[in-house]
């Protein structure tokens, strides 16, 4: 049983591509056969985040137009032999591909892969429609900021209208220190507003910047975000993984909890 997952957000710059790279790599670490498709035609960047930019020969538009077969365009990952990337075209635009063509391609790939993961472009135009056309489920990436949450809400509405069966939320770049000060929306605040299922929380982590600099997804590493991505991947496969505590509770906090909540 293969699953087609679109990773989307509405707003740009919230971490869709980084999330795609890490979830794809994380699923491959769990022994799954995975293909990542960059559907952002004209603004290709999943290849650089994966560190595979020097290996591109053909791209998504070449496959759709029949210039090559899907297998010729897919690039094998450096570390995981069951992880592939189908890169986007850099010199074309969104109208080069239609939703019907995307759906056909994705359905064809179901035969060979457990997970087909689509990195969706920002916005709600043609590129978004292409990316969601063949998707069974969606992971919405948002940050705890008003603009990102507003766009996420709009995207959720559009996905529901398109009858995407399952929609889960990833809250990205949360900063516990700011939440504690009352200067950042908490996980509960975001869930209260968006009212959809939470599949994971990724803390703000400098290690992410380092990992994208190097083109090496950090899922599975000992960093907080590396662990958060592992948990998300396990939840994607259907495993019941409890939400990670983002911060170790100090002695004083434990004492306070004991007094105020009785445990």
């Amino acid at each position: 049983m293969s699953e087609v997952i679109v990773i989307t957000s509405g707003k740009g710059g919230v971490g869709k591509t980084t999330t795609t790279a890490n979830i794809g790599t994380g699923l491959a670490q769990l022994g799954k056969k995975v293909v990542l498709i960059d559907t952002d035609i004209g603004l290709r960047n999943l290849d650089v985040v994966m560190g595979l930019e020097n290996r591109i020969v053909y791209n998504l538009v070449d496959v759709v137009e029949g210039n090559c077969r899907a297998k010729q365009a897919m690039i094998k990952d450096k570390k995981y032999p069951d992880l592939y990337l189908l890169p986007s075209a850099q010199t074309r635009d969104k109208t080069s591909v239609t939703p019907e063509q995307m759906k056909t391609l994705v359905d064809e790939l179901r035969e060979d892969f457990d997970y087909i993961i689509l990195d969706c472009p920002a916005g709600i135009e043609q590129g978004f429609k292409n990316a969601i056309a063949g998707a069974d489920r969606a992971l919405i990436v948002t940050t705890p900021e008003v603009a990102a949450i507003r766009d996420a809400d709009r995207i959720i509405g559009l996905l529901q209208a398109e009858e995407v069966k399952r929609i889960d939320l990833i809250i990205n770049r949360i900063r516990l220190d700011m939440v504690k000060r009352g200067d950042m929306l908490s996980v509960d605040d975001v869930l209260d507003i968006l009212a959809i299922n939470l599949i994971g929380v990724v803390p703000y982590d400098e290690a992410i910047v380092v990992s994208t600099n190097e083109g090496e997804p950090l899922v599975g590493s000992s960093s907080k975000s590396g662990q958060a991505y592992v948990n998300i991947c396990r939840r994607v496969t259907g495993e019941d993984v409890p939400m990670m505590k983002l911060e170790d509770e100090g002695f004083f906090r434990k004492l306070v909890n004991l007094i105020t909540r009785g445990y």
Partner: protein, 91 residues
């Protein structure tokens, strides 16, 4: 509310963000733009003005959320506050 919250409860920027988001999402979800609201407002003024003189400057109309009477939870509702200046004579 916890014991310590009594002391630390204050208006902070995340509360402001949450309130602003709740408002903006109600009108987003109802697919009701400010232009549409303006048209609704003008139509209401036109209809009510047939029967009574209203204070157009004091008129306030907005989309808000309210508890459904039918038990459907929170639903969007149009809230209109229309001050009447004078009931028209002869009615």
């Amino acid at each position: 509310m916890g014991f310590f919250d009594v002391f630390f409860k204050k208006k902070n920027s995340s509360n402001t963000a949450k309130e602003r988001l709740k408002f903006v999402l109600v009108s987003d979800r109802a697919n009701c733009s400010p232009e549409t609201m303006e048209m609704i407002k003008n139509d209401i003024i036109e209809v009510i003005s047939k029967y009574m003189e209203i204070d157009v400057a004091g008129l306030d109309i907005q989309i808000t959320q309210t508890e459904s009477e039918g038990g459907n939870g929170i639903v969007p509702a149009i809230y209109a506050n229309i001050p009447i200046k004078e009931l028209k004579a002869g009615r």
